[in-house]
Structure formats: C-alpha cells, structure tokens
Symmetry: C2
Subunit: 382 residues, 2 copies
C-alpha cells in the first residue's frame, strides 16, 4: 500500500473495457469476430479533443500505466513515475490513454479469454497478432473515444514499434511519434533469444500444446526460464556488475547448486514473481509480435520507402548501454525519417542501465522527453 | 569419413587412460580417492623432454583435440585445424598433450563414471571441481608422462583459464602461458547466463536431482535449452546477422511456432546434435567451474598479487567481437602480468566471429600464435 498517494500521482484509476463486435482481419489473414480492449485514461481530454496521447506498452506491460487501482494498492502502474500532474507526461496538459494490447493477459482479449465459439479459453487457438493489428485495434479504440488524432503516440521497446507503426499506417491521426529504445526490426540475435524463451515454454511438459488451462496447470518452469533470460537482456553487463558483481549471498562458495551469487538470487526472484502473474501463451505471442515486426518488409527492406507516407514529427531516444536495441538501431530509424525530410529529434542518452533505462527516471532522458512534450503541449494542431 | 586424411593431419590417434590411485583433495575439501584421466598426444617428445605443450579444452571440448579415431571417422578433433605437422601448433616441433578434464564425460572420471564406492554412476555425488583441481590433476598426468616442465600451456575460453592457473600454481613447470579469449573471472552477466542454463537442466522433470541415469532418461529439454543459450553467447550479433539475418526458412512468415527464421533452425540443430553426446551433470559442473574461477579471490581481488609467483612468459589473445569475454577482460590479465614485470605479448584480433573465433583459422590470429610458438620452439629452456 502506498504510504499515502503522492500529490503528483494520477491517484486511483479505473480500467474500462470496450467490446468490439466488428470483425478485425489480422495480418495473418485470421479474423477476430469480436474482442474486448481494456484501457485506462489519465488527465482530461480538452474541448478541442487535441491533447490525447497514446502510451503503448512493451512485452509484459499492460494498460495500467499510472496510478493505483485501490487505496491499498501496493504497486503503481508500470510508467507511473512518468505520468501524472506535473510529471514528464503531464496529465494537467495531456489526456493519456493506455490500452492492453490484443493477445494480452490483463483484460484485453487474448489466449486466456474464453472463446465464445467453443466455450473454452482460446489458448493456442488465439491467432498470432502483429504490431499492425495492434495499431488497427487501437485506432478503433480511438474512434470509440472520439479521438480523431493523437497529439502523440509514445512507447519504449515494443511500445516504440507501435508508435512507429502508427506513424506509417495512420499519418492523419498522429502528430508526433515518440520511439524510445526500439528498433526498426529485430536482429538475428534478438530473434535467437526469443526462440530460446519460446522453446523453454513449449518444451515444458506442463505446456500441453498450449492447452494447459484445461488441466489446471501452467508451464511454470518454461515461463520462469524465459523471464530469467529476458532480464539478462534488459540489463547491461555494466549494471549487472555494479548491482551484483560477483558478490556471494552467503559470503562464501558452497560448492553446490543452491543460490551462491547475488545475481542468481536476483534472477530467480524475478522469475518466480513473474510466474503466476503472466500467461505463457501470451508470452509466446508477444515474442512473435516482436520477431515479425519489420515495416520495411513491404518495401523490399527499404525503411525510408516504408516511411514515405509518414507526416508526424518524431522523437527517437536510445540509451548508450542498451545492447538489446542498441543506439545504432535507433539511428537507422532517424536516417530513414530524415530521408523523407521529416522533422526528427534524436537523443542518445548516456546511461548504464541497459534496455530497462526506458522505464527509469534518468535526468537527461526526462529533460529530452520533457522539452519535446512541452513543445507538443504548446503547439496547436495544424 | 574424411575423403582422405590430409597430409598435415596428425592422422589416426589413440586415446590412452591413466589411472590414479593417490587421493586428490579438491578445492571444495572433498577427496577423490581414485580417478582416471584420458588423454591423447600428437608429435614426439624430444630427448630433452622440453617440447611438450599442454592443450586445455573449454566447456564442451575433450581430450580429442586433433586427428581421427579411425579411418572412417567423419570428424576430426576439436582443434584439428590448429594442430598437426606444419600447422600452427606444429607437431613436427612440439609434443602436444591433451587430456579430458576431471568431471568430463569423455573418458576421464566424472558424473557418468561408476563410483566404486556404490557401484552406481556418480551423478550428483561427483564433487564440484575447480580449475585449480584440474591443474593439479594435469600436473599428476605430467608426472606420469615424465614431463617436468611444459614448453607451453595453451587454451581458449575455459582452456585459457587453465593456462593462467598453471602459471600461478606451478611456476617451475610452465615456460609459456597462452591465454586466448578468456577472463580472470566471470562477470555477473556471464554467471547469469550460466545460471539460466543450470536452471533449465535442473528444473527439467527428467533431471531427477541428477540421478536420471538410474531411470534411463536424460534431461534433454534442459540440456537443449542450455546449449541454445550457449550458442547465442558464442557468436557475435554481427556474425549472426551476417549468417542468418532475418532470412525466413520458407521465404514467408507462417504465423505459427514452427521454425520460421534461419537462426531458429540453426539453434535447434545445434541443440539437438549436442543432446545425446554430452552429459547434463557434466554441463552443470562445467558452468560451476567457470563461475568459481577467480584466482584473485585469494589475494583480496588483487590480480597482480595473485600473479606474484608467476615466472612464465605469456601470450594473451582476445577478439574484437567477443562479448562473452571481451577484450577489456584480457587487458585486465595483461595489466596484472605487467605489474609483475613479466614478459607479456598481447594481441586483440579483429574478427566478427564472437567468442567462437578462438576455434577458427583467422589469419591475424594464426600469425600471432604462429610467431609466438616459433619463438618458443627456437628457444631452449633456461
């Protein structure tokens, strides 16, 4: 429970759900006949309906980006330190919308949802979605909310990829794309890590081809390994060294397979606390969304050509120690936007926190983001 | 089967086994009452017995470093391209000795060996060994072979750590230490990757606390994951991109969980071909040997102090794209040797092959190693 809710918090927030009956044809060709999207909003929409900002979440995030769900809620939303009255994404100025992505496990329709056609949870029958599909579903949500144009779409990691896809697919509906710690597509190494995570889950004997719900089990071992591996890629080697070094939990080597080094304890803790809170089929799906993201695939690998209809201004931010999506990947985006004579701001933020830096209040990062958002807030839509 | 055995191959080689009855007290305090070491030799020992070179293997290597075991043997030893008459480790000049490390699964006593005390395979009862223990057992092997001093001890990765430990523990018995692609100790990130590999094996339901032999099963799923993960860390991001890029095996995305990208196919192949050939308890043990290696632990973290009794000349080689044991880790070794006014040669070899580069014939690498070995061959022991 928060000791007391800080004055610059958005406070107690209430998720809402929209049900969509209009079928959504996915990039795979599959059709979702109907689905729900759960979302939260923070701050008021202005009378001109011009101050809406869409925050997109990454792999294991959710619609709950800021505030608390009840007064005794021990944990604020995943980007709470960024979103609030007077905070960098200032809810006194912006109307922030945050939805759980389709295929998620936090309320939007996904593998854990009951499939109305069968009366059972979708599990592996839930279709593989893509960033394009997410953006299409978010556009429908914007329709329901009567938001014809976002002041900005903003996200880190997989969230940044959604901002990029918004700029490509709906140039009239986005004024600014803010892409943080992302890449225009995954590298072979990125895919390789995802593949190990998937194999961990899929070869867990409790996976049952994804139909584990029916047996009231979960591929916990596999999901645990996937999460441990994820955490290694979220942190930099330097940060791990600084945080844990080779410190021994009991001050001595025990010559056994229990936890000996602090870093082992950290990984096991992170893994154990993830399992039970996140769904394994959803994890698989999210890794596929990442693997498939490649907007330049439609233009023969030419990212500049993929951006040819983009009109939004962009802010691209990368972090020096991020080896998952390194700065040179962000510069590919910047170059391709420049090739289209678009307004692009780019900042490489010095940090030793690795990929996770995008979630952290790093002064240079906050300054860059704050300055850019100030500019958006003070500019009226053309 | 080799089409025909190349003229500069060591040809058909025969492993030999030495049985040791004198108990070996390990770093853990455990005692191995008796054990076998299996080894191979290539090239002749000179009458002065001064041209012996010990080659030390890495995690999944063995004593079989060069040549073929029979005329229809399809695969040469793991460092065959380096060892042979006229090759860089020239068996016309050197008597090369290569032994399987204690705890291995290729003939030396290890978890798969029958424990004479119980009549069953050791499994998890095999004690955790360390690099110190290996070097002590190799010294006993040298005694049996009547080699009082190695012209050089050479190894890459975990093999380089053995060369370093030789220089520390037996200054009178080693003239040159050649340490390739190694580090003076693992980083937190290195340990983290090992921990995920261990957790993969140990949480496999077929692990049975290491007593899987008795049930005629193997923790194949876990070992597979460990190997996939290992391979990611052996290659550089660049090499993976060059080798696989985002190439699709069937030229199109299938929206399913089969193999889609070439890199997935590569990892699954590597993993599948490892399982059945390597023992899971041994894999666990090897990761522990790596984690525990830290010669400076005895001198309060001061590597220069740890080297104070070293007299050997050294060659240290690192590779630009090796992110498992990056060049700056090699420079820590070089600096600490310099602090002791020792003769050290250091080369950072430009390569894009990642950690695996130490196994590959890269011209600059071969030149550096060859020049150094020429000097050893032409220098008589003092």
């Amino acid at each position: 429970m928060p000791e007391s809710i800080p004055h610059d918090s958005v406070g107690i927030v209430q998720p809402r759900t929209v049900h969509f009956d209009q079928p959504l044809t996915l990039a795979s060709g599959d059709v979702l006949d109907q689905y729900d999207l759960v979302y939260e909003t923070y701050g008021d929409l202005n009378p001109e309906r011009s101050n809406a900002v869409l925050v997109c979440h990454a792999l294991s995030g959710s619609h709950h980006a800021a505030g608390y769900h009840h007064p005794s809620d021990g944990k604020a939303g995943w980007w709470d330190s960024f979103i609030g009255p007077g905070r960098v994404i200032d809810t006194n100025r912006f109307h922030v919308v945050s939805s759980n992505n389709l295929g998620g496990c936090d309320g939007s329709t996904g593998p854990t949802t009951v499939n109305p056609a069968t009366g059972k949870q979708y599990g592996p029958d839930f279709p593989i979605v893509t960033v394009d599909d997410w953006v299409a579903s978010q556009a429908r949500l914007a329709d329901v909310l009567d938001i014809s144009q976002w002041a900005a779409v903003i996200g880190g990691s997989l969230g940044g990829m959604q901002a990029m896809q918004w700029a490509i697919d709906y140039p009239d509906r986005i004024r600014h794309a803010i892409m943080i710690a992302c890449a225009p597509k995954l590298s072979a190494q990125n895919i390789a890590f995802n593949e190990v995570a998937r194999q961990a889950i899929r070869t867990d004997p409790d996976f049952y081809d994804g139909r584990y719900y029916e047996r009231a089990v979960e591929p916990r071992r596999g999901l645990r390994l996937a999460r441990m591996l994820g955490h290694i890629t979220y942190l930099s080697d330097d940060l791990m060294s600084e945080k844990f070094g080779r410190d021994l939990r009991e001050g001595k080597i025990n010559f056994d397979y229990g936890v000996e080094f602090q870093v082992e304890s950290y990984l096991r803790y992170q893994a154990d606390s993830f399992v039970g809170k996140f769904d394994a089929n959803t994890y698989l799906l999210m890794t596929k969304v990442l693997d498939y993201f490649d907007p330049a695939a439609k233009t023969g690998g030419d990212l500049s050509a993929a951006f040819r209809d983009v009109t939004a201004d962009s802010l691209v931010i990368s972090f020096t120690s991020d080896w998952r999506f390194a700065s040179h990947r962000s510069r590919e985006i910047v170059k391709a936007l420049h090739d289209n004579d678009l307004n692009v701001s780019y900042a490489e933020v010095k940090s030793h926190q690795g990929h996770d830096a995008f979630l952290l209040k790093i002064q240079q990062y906050i300054d860059v983001l704050g300055t850019y958002l100030d500019r958006i807030a003070s500019t009226h839509p053309s």
